[in-house]
């Protein structure tokens, strides 16, 4: 998983049915010092209710997302799977 900071949200009225009812977040990958590391991208937030500024873990593997959400046809590659309380390095 990637340690990321939530930067914001994306709204889309017209979208693939798989994304209906799911929140789409903009996330920025961070390094161990919590500095930006690489390009920001989009991740679905199914139920962690994260918001801008939150530190989260993002799973970036579609098969894992499909197993977790219980639908073998889901075209989702990135999912927020945890909200981080503390990181000790």
């Amino acid at each position: 998983m990637n340690l990321c900071q939530v930067l914001g949200t994306v709204t889309a009225t017209h979208k693939h049915p798989a994304f209906a009812g799911r929140r789409m977040m903009v996330v920025q990958p961070l390094d161990e010092a919590r500095q930006p590391a690489g390009k920001s991208f989009l991740a679905v937030d199914e139920r962690s209710q994260s918001g801008p500024g939150d530190l989260v873990l993002v799973l970036r593997e579609g098969n894992g997302v499909r197993q977790l959400l219980g639908d073998r046809t889901l075209p989702i590659r990135s999912l927020i799977v945890a909200v981080v309380d503390a990181v000790d390095v």
Partner: protein, 90 residues
Amino acid sequence: MYLGKVIGTVVCERKYEGLEGQRLLVVQPLDGRREPSGPPEVAVDTVSASPGSLVYLVGSREAALAVNAEQPPPVDSAIVGLVDSVDLSR
């Protein structure tokens, strides 16, 4: 998944069966702050986007699933959302 801006269209006469009837668009990938990120790519459109549209895409195997989950076509980039707005806190 990632943001992108549609910058053009592609037409192909000869193609694999899975690509028949699919709309192909040229997309410039963007990062979360809408800055260009890497070279343009060709994506299958599932949301009736058009040149100038801000969209989000999914890549790799998931792109094929987005187009046809039962018979995944030879596709590695698909437009799956027509973006209304991107709200960043900072």
